[in-house]
Structures are given as C-alpha cells and as structure tokens.
Symmetry: C2
C-alpha cells in the first residue's frame, strides 16, 4: 500500500537540498535485549525507540532475544515485557515470542498478543523435531520468523512447506542460503526473507572476525538478486559486530545509519526510494500482518550524515540523508533529526488475523 | 510382484521341519569397500556375494563406500569397479556412484551404468548447495539414495521435493528421522526408506559405543511403524559395530544372520514372511528399478541357525532359519546353506528407465 508520491522534489530554496517524503518505516527485527526485564528494560526501550523514531522508523517488531538467550518464551515473560514497555516506547510496537526446545506447550497462549513466533538459530540447530513440534503448536495464520542457515534453513523450509504455512527467514547471510530460498520461493511465494542492511555494505573482508557477515561474493549475490529479498532489517548484526571487534556495544547499534546507507545506494543508482519503501514499509506490513500507521517521514537527501556518537560497522563515511521531520497521526514528533517533546506512550499493537488492529494493552494509541 | 505362494508347508517328514519358498532376496546396500580396487576387490566381492547367495540374497546393489571414503565417484572408478567385478561375483549386481563436494560434473556420465546416486553422510553434512548441485546433475528418473540424519535429512528431502524427484533414505537410525520421513511420505509417496536389519534387534543400550544405533525407544518406534519402512538393509552397520566394539572386522559382516533375525521376529509374531519379501524383494525392485530375476530360495524355518564363524552384533543366540536351496534360472546354486560348484559369473545389470534390463558389460547372465 503506497500512500505518498515518492518523487524527489527540490524543497529547500536556500540550500537546494532535495527532499522526499515516505511512509513511516518499520524496524522488523528490533533488538531490545532487556525487553522482558522490568528494571533495565524501560530505559533501553526508550533509547531504542527514540533512535528509531529519529531515524524514520515509526514501528518496531521486537525480537525476543538477548546475548544470553531468548527473553520472551511464555505468558509470564510476555506479561513482563508488556509491563516493561508501558510508558517506555516512543513508537507503537509488537512483541514476538521465542520457540525453544522446551516451550512448545507454552507459546500457544501468547499467540494473540504477539506478531510472530521467532525461532532463534541456537534453538533450531539440528533440532528438527523440536521445530516441528513448535510449528505444530503455533497457529497456522500467525507468522514464523526463523534465523536459520544451511541444513537448518532447509529443514525449517521443509517443515513449513509440509504444514502449508508461511515462513520468514531473517538475516540471510550468504549466497547459498539466498539461492535456496529463491528456489523455494518459485514454488511457494509464502516464503519470505530479509537481509541485514549492514550486510549489504560491509563484508567478512572488512571484518575477518565477523564470520556471520557475507563475503564479497555473497554480498554481490544479494545485490544481484534484490528482487528476492522481501525486507531489510537492522537486527542484532551491528551489535554482534561491535562485540567481536572489541568496539563499544551501544544500545541501538546500527539504527541511525541504516537509512543513510540505503540512501547512499540510491545515490549510486543501485536502489530506488521505492525499493526502500517496499522493503521497510509495504512488505513488512504484509509479511508480519502489522498495523497501517498514519505516519510520514520527510527526508533531506543531501544532508551530510554524521554518526560520531556511536560505533557503526560502516566506517567509510560519505553518507547522506537526514530526517527532517516525522509526523505520526498528523503530529510532528521528530524535527531536524531530534525527538521533540512527546511522551513514550507507544503501545503494543497486534492485528487479529483478518480483522483490524487489536491493542495488547489498554492505553490509547500514540499521537 | 509376488511370484510364489508363501504358505509355510510341512516338508521334511523325518524332522517335521517347516519350510517356505520365497523369491531371491535383494541386498539393497551391499558393502564391498574395495569394489573399485582391481587388486583387493575381486576376492572381497567373491566372498561377499558367496555369503549373500548362501543367505538367500541373489542380487546386490553395491554402495560406493569404504571406511576411508567414497569409492566409485566418476567414470574411471566405475570402469575399475566393473573390471574388478568381472568373474568375481556369484550374483548379478548393480553398482552405484557416490556424490561428493567436487564431482557433480562427473556423475552424469555414469548414470546409465549404475542403479542410483548415493549421497554419503559425510558428503551431505551441512552442504546444501553441494547436494542441490548433485541432484540437478543427476537424471530425474534415476534413484537417489541418501544417508542423512536430522537437519541434513530434512534438507535433502526439501531438495528432492523441489525437484519433484524420488529419494530413498537409507539406514534410518532414530525415531525423529523416521517420523519426519513419515510426515513427508504422507504428501509425497516417492519418498522411501530402509532401516538396517540389525538396528531392529540391537540398540545403543546393548552397545553404548554404537552411537549410530537406535535407542530402545527408537527401535520400538520402528516396530510400531513398520508400514512406513519400505525396505530392510544390511549395509555397513554390522561392520561399523564390529569396529567400534573392537571385534574382528570380517568381510560380509551381518549377511549370514540377517534373514534368521527377521525369521525370529516372524516366529515371535512381530513380522510375517510377506513383510520380509515385501522389504527384501518387491519394494527394492520397485524403488531401485532393479531387474526381476528368476530366483527362488527355500528356507528351513526350524533349522537352528549357528554363526560361529564371524562376529555378529546379535549375540543372544536362539535364531532359527536355514537356506535349504537357492535356485537361479532353474539351477541349484546353493544347497543346505553351501554354495555348490558355480563360477562367479554374476554381471552388472542396470535397467534403462521404462525398458528391460541392460547389461553394463557383455557377459551372459548368471545361470
Ligand atoms: Zn537540507
Ligand atoms: Zn515463565
Ligand atoms: Zn544490519
Ligand atoms: Zn503504509
Ligand atoms: Zn530341516
Ligand atoms: Zn577418476
Ligand atoms: Zn544392519
Ligand atoms: Zn520378483
């Protein structure tokens, strides 16, 4: 669903900077490791969603993951996360629940309060029957997000196909995996995938420690097959890379430069604004059944992007793109890249399948 | 195709032993590690096929495997194996070719001289794109035999399904793998499998070193789901078990007691003679497109089986069943369990798809 003409227009007469207005973007794999921790979580969620909003992301789907393992795994931890998020998020959001080797019986009760079931890599690895069990429990109409590689990727794709259910593969990191997904997509368009934005711009050659990064050859394959990549994500990759390279691990790594990176590719003619909106707005809404927001983002394409505050995987500089303004429900919430006085009243919004949005708690929507 | 009435009849008036006549059995995964070694191979093949024939197996499909890796991998090694087998096999046989990480381009030229492509466990492990490449090269109408577990099993099943091709999983060793195969079979009956005969009778509890054996629970699941097991095999399991337990590793381990083990299950009411013939004759012929032979085996059900000559995984004794006579092309080739004077003139027979048998070499058929 396209709401806005994406024509780039000369706007700022004084500086001749080009601007473009796009719909509010969606952070499909928000990384908030303390999401279910009522002590540490609120500040972290505030910081993350502030960074998101200032970067053009007006909705986050939050992954139930942390460096030490899955966070939201049952109705108790989901309740804790909803409590954590109360008055702590600057944007509306959805939570997701993690499947593990021993919670197949517990996830079902969470399904109408989360947007998807997440199958983390470590829980999937060589555990075909665990995954089969989890998929059997999970309502067929709700999405499944799997972080899977090589044989585990093939295995989860087979299990999804045996159940005739859709599946989304997140953080595809190499050529072979994308090629397999492409082959399956030919037969079954309900298989979708995302790649991390940073993995379109940095490689294992840049960071030999980053074995989870694509090689240059993998990366070229991603660019050559962009049509098969349904969504772009930020996810945990920038944080993991900061960790393995001994750089400072900040909350919200990779959020601020995500859009400037993509806009630099627009500038280089490798991507269009439409390509970005499709993969950071239209497709995420469809794939994860997320709510349509009344949110627009005005971008200054010629603003020189500067990210000195936190370490970023992309260190070559020269990125352009600034958030001039973000409007949610016709109110300006970000101006010249900074959050302007609003309260963190974002709520969990999960759409019931085949109906309108349903709030997981009782607060009024952000606006 | 059933040729013979399988009624058990009182035959031997003197001893009141019951006998039954069944079609010549097929050894679906013959283990001849030196099959392509023109020096060591002939004696080994003679010994193996003698044991087979004396045990009721009148045809062997030979796996291209040895303890040190794949043996037949291209047209050179196939030629060597055909040369090795010349005047060295007491039964007709078919060879198979192994897929490896670097021979996708070489297997195609062997396809009309072998009965199947074999994908060994070590070559499959986490190599989805290698397997995809191998399957792409291999003629769609020729069978593929995969030795795969857990995620690699799922992955090869997915790849086969994407190509709409049949696949046979050999040596299924645990409950989860059989359950996955059963789920896939429901949708796609061209997926077939075998279990090793010995793994129906010995478990990890008997041999803690034999991690490739089923647990008691796995084994019970096999017996409970016999309908989903298309074939029985002997394979490399008895040899591997002799190796890990420090017992003497003989050529042809497990062949002599294979049928007596199954007949003991018939005696216990857990299996019928029909079940055996289906899985050691009818189904193998269909699954691997093997030639129909004119071969019958007369079994003395009450003969006390004795296997003192070589180590066997099954040490509890008390097995019954003796091969009274084997007739191939109306000639008696085994009498009272012993090969009687015949020459090892068995040949490679591979049926062209949709036509009659084609000899891979020019000798006359055995008989
Ligand atoms: Zn400007
Ligand atoms: Zn709990
Ligand atoms: Zn990223
Ligand atoms: Zn929209
Ligand atoms: Zn007798
Ligand atoms: Zn060669
Ligand atoms: Zn066996
Ligand atoms: Zn027959």
């Amino acid at each position: 669903s396209r709401h806005i003409a994406l024509d780039v227009s000369e706007r700022d007469a004084q500086t001749s900077h080009r601007t473009v207005t796009i719909p509010g973007l969606i952070n499909v794999t928000g990384y908030v490791p303390n999401a279910s921790n009522v002590i540490k979580g609120p500040a972290e969620l505030k910081e993350t969603t502030r960074l998101c909003l200032e970067s053009g992301f007006t909705f986050s789907q939050i992954m139930p993951r942390s460096a030490s393992g899955p966070t939201i795994t049952d109705s108790h931890s989901l309740k804790a996360a909803l409590s954590t998020a109360k008055d702590s998020s600057y944007t509306d959001f959805s939570l997701t629940v993690a499947g593990t080797s021993n919670n197949a019986e517990m996830i079902g009760s969470t399904s109408d309060q989360v947007s998807a079931l997440f199958l983390p890599f470590h829980e999937l690895k060589n555990k075909v029957s665990t995954v089969a069990e989890l998929l059997k429990t999970w309502p067929i109409e709700k999405q499944v997000i799997a972080e899977a590689k090589t044989a585990d990727l093939a295995s989860v794709l087979l299990l999804a196909s045996l159940q005739n259910r859709s599946i989304h593969i997140t953080g595809v990191s190499n050529k072979e995996d994308l090629a397999l997904i492409m082959t399956v997509k030919e037969k079954d368009p309900s298989v979708t995938c995302d790649v991390c934005i940073h993995s379109l711009f940095v490689t294992q050659e840049d960071y030999p420690e980053g074995v989870f990064l694509p090689t240059e050859e993998d990366q070229q394959f991603f660019w050559d097959n962009l049509d098969s990549i349904d969504a772009f994500s930020i996810g945990v990759l920038p944080t993991m890379l900061a960790h393995v390279t001994g750089n400072k691990v900040d909350i919200g790594s990779g959020i601020k430069d995500a859009l400037p990176l993509l806009l630099s590719a627009v500038e280089d003619g490798r991507l269009t604004i439409d390509d970005i909106v499709l993969r950071l707005h239209d497709n995420p809404i469809k794939i994860f059944n997320l709510p349509e927001q009344k949110a627009v983002v005005e971008i200054d394409l010629d603003y020189s992007f500067n990210n000195r505050k936190r370490w970023s995987p992309y260190t070559k500089g020269g990125l352009n793109g600034g958030i001039e303004r973000v409007l949610v429900n016709d109110e300006t919430v970000v101006l010249s890249g900074d959050l302007i006085a609003i309260q963190p009243t974002g709520i969990s919004v999960v759409k019931a399948q085949g109906s309108g949005p349903v709030s997981a708690n009782i607060e009024a929507p952000l606006g």
